[in-house]
Subunit: 346 residues, 3 copies
């Protein structure tokens, strides 16, 4: 179900400082994970379960860099080794909890759920976070009750923008004419897509003349498990009908979206959408953020409705079409990684 | 569990016009069904699931007589055939969704869940709907969390009126003396029942002298899956102690009740109770409607309590008694139809 | 899962008089039980399920010492025998519902869930109830969503007071030094424990000088299924460092706690904590009751968090330590009784 050897986003780093007692409990790929900071700022991620009686360590207490389970007082260091058992002199070797490699990159917390030996930081996806000086960005979170495969399919067929997001990011039914250069990455896909001569997105339509037309550019990288990194630019419609626009750049945006499976039926979705400072119409960033929030609720409605149907008939044969190339490649990659891990484990 | 070749009530036809975007999604006998009207008023019923990615079509958009899935824009005609796939010139044969025969009769919407070839309209139960000129009627709906077999058993042993509905329709413990002429129909049972010399029902007791006595007549038809059609009349108590009353008709009512199984554990219950115009005491129709609403909540409380117990001990051996003849015959019929369909499918 | 031949607490006897229609429905060890009083005050406990159509008898009506099912009017005597079936002259032998031995002892209602022949009242645990003249006591109830084994483990390792109840009953981390004389009983364990020279419990700390020290004595009896009877006394710290204190008794309390499994995942917890009249600081009983309520919510938080983890990984291997002797013995006893009953049934 879940690739183990992958970095999973555990939220915005600001979640850690604002949490009660600075302890955060996350459900990631079927595991409960406790996350906190050491005194030097490093992030610690441990199995959120005391090895004694399975009480959540997230109900515990930080003591320096360590965490004390507040059920019977067992104390663990950041590596997950038990270093004190009140009422018992000896602490045996087997008293420990799994720890996970954890780092912060571009304001996101990342947890490696597999073999620590393989946790290379270079595998963390590139993105832009709210502390980046060049972009205006609001970090957000939403929970969607679906399997993460459906999020992958949603994000790798952008023609849905025309229909699902008709009243927010859409505004044209020309999205199905979108032309992309799709390429495979080691752990994902990259797509470079243009839509030419379309009206402004619905959320910004009132800022332009009725007959104004634009060229839209999407530079998308999607990586395992389900990170969607988008550079989206709007140009005034040029005379080019294919490939790069020769119009004028009027809107430069970046969206960082990380979808983390909680369990089979639920994902945590950490997202943002930003405009490059100084390039946008005044007030556009606020319109963009509001449209973004509405759009994610539109997705949620469709994805949860879809998932109810899917669970209802697990053997239903779906009909594919041309724009399923993106979803298809991501599923091919995901299934390959899952198979590799299953074989390595066996 | 569910007979396929049967008409299932999908609600009052007024539900269609008042629905958002005039699209209604119903759960019927384990299937999700989209219902809407064509421009000529005909009712369309389709599997509420796009064949592409299983998004609910009820989140879609009516376009003339057609329905467009608003996930990726696939468009279906009223027969369920896909007639447009944005971004792909060809629409293959397998791009279609199941459609169900659907008609309106006496203000109820009826869906045939089985083989369309066998969908004879004559199999729809006779009833009286709110648009009938001779009756005052309020259409109602309630959901009950039980299996529909328990609704069948409830409706075919009316002695429960004495106890469950003591404070509404009851008012006498003579119901167990009820005498009926029970006969089998092709797809149901008919019962002609009299109770003699009883006080007025609790809800109308204050309209009559304390010692007033009445003869009650029930003409009941129950058909598959669980339609309960009742002509209920009240006479002043005559001297006849069996069979038709020779008293004076003082109240003439009709109740149309259709119970549609949603899934194994839940039913939608569409009901009404009416008085014949001009025959009733002033204000009696309102008393009747209020008593009716209370009575259905009384049933709901018992049926849901009962069903919790049943699920708790699936193998519990129940003890039958004399008045289980009605339930027994309906179950015999239901099981025969289920067996016939299972054999035909095998 | 549940020992049948045991007395299970069904709540405080005051629950019976304050209940609607004086009928109480309880879930006990996987069974639904109806409880009511006869006219002479004796307690009746019957399967809360009519043998006809499984409607809850607790939706019924008391008639003298009998109970009438209000679905179809069947009437049962306190032994569970059906004595009237409206509409049918004969009442057959098999029309009956199981009855359970039931008694009130020390203000708790007790139900024997197994073979009535073996229901000896001497097996009911000793306790002190709110009507005892020597103690000030408030009866309470809480529901905890865990398996009762986790309650057993919680109550038989009191070192958790130091951590879970740090802000209420705790106030020292010396609990892990607690020394006890643990002995096995036929159906439980007894423990006589001292903690010496510790500060006052957190909830009462402000009543004493900052450097005041105390000796604490716990006399605990835990019996099957999960009754925790505690005599807890506080002495000014004496010079004895082991065994009985030679300080002055300043607080004499008694706590009666009965944990009744409802199903695998839930327990009803009936508890109280009292001070001996005339011995306590003015106002202390109120502080004690408030601390007690807070402490039970602290336990609930840990137990429910723990149980979520346990259900998540049923095969997780837990690590034991020195203070698991109490839990271990109770589990040994419980498993032995379960095995004996399984063998006797086979």
């Amino acid at each position: 179900m879940f690739v183990k050897n992958a970095w999973y986003c555990a939220g915005w780093q600001s979640d850690l400082s604002s949490a009660k007692d600075a302890l955060v409990s996350r459900r990631i790929a079927g595991e409960s994970v406790l996350i906190y900071r050491k005194l030097n700022g490093d992030v610690v991620a441990l199995d959120d379960r005391c090895c004694h009686r399975q009480a959540p360590l997230s109900l515990g207490r930080k003591e320096g860099d360590d965490i004390r389970c507040m059920y019977h007082g067992w104390k663990f260091n950041p590596e997950g080794k038990c270093i004190e058992i009140p009422g018992q002199a000896e602490v045996r070797q087997n008293a420990c909890v799994p720890s996970y490699p954890a780092v912060v990159k571009n304001d996101w917390i990342w947890i490696w759920m597999g073999d620590p030996e393989k946790a290379e930081e270079s595998l963390i996806c590139e993105s832009i976070g709210p502390s980046h000086p060049d972009w205006d960005m609001n970090p957000r979170h939403i929970r969607v009750n679906t399997n993460y495969r459906q999020e992958i399919a949603n994000l790798t067929d952008l023609t849905h923008v025309a229909w699902v997001h008709m009243d927010t990011f859409g505004g044209t039914t020309k999205y199905p004419e979108i032309k992309g250069k799709l390429s495979m990455l080691d752990r994902g896909i990259h797509n470079d897509m243009w839509v030419h001569s379309v009206p402004a997105p619905s959320f910004a339509k009132h800022l332009f003349p009725d007959d104004a037309l634009f060229d839209l550019h999407f530079d998308v990288t999607v990586t395992i498990p389900c990170n969607f990194i988008l550079h989206f630019r709007v140009f005034t419609a040029g005379t080019n009908t294919a490939g790069p626009s020769n119009g004028e750049l009027i809107l430069d945006t970046f969206s960082s979206q990380a979808v983390t499976p909680r369990d089979a039926d639920s994902v945590d979705y950490y997202y943002s959408w930003s405009t490059r400072k100084g390039t946008a119409h005044p007030g556009l960033i606020q319109l963009l953020i509001e449209a973004n929030e509405d759009a994610f609720l539109e997705d949620k409605m469709f994805l949860e409705g879809q998932y109810q149907r899917m669970k209802d008939k697990p053997d239903y044969k779906m009909v594919d079409y041309a724009h399923d190339a993106g979803p298809g490649r991501m599923f091919w990659l995901l299934d390959k990684l899952l198979k590799d891990e299953a074989e390595a484990a066996a």
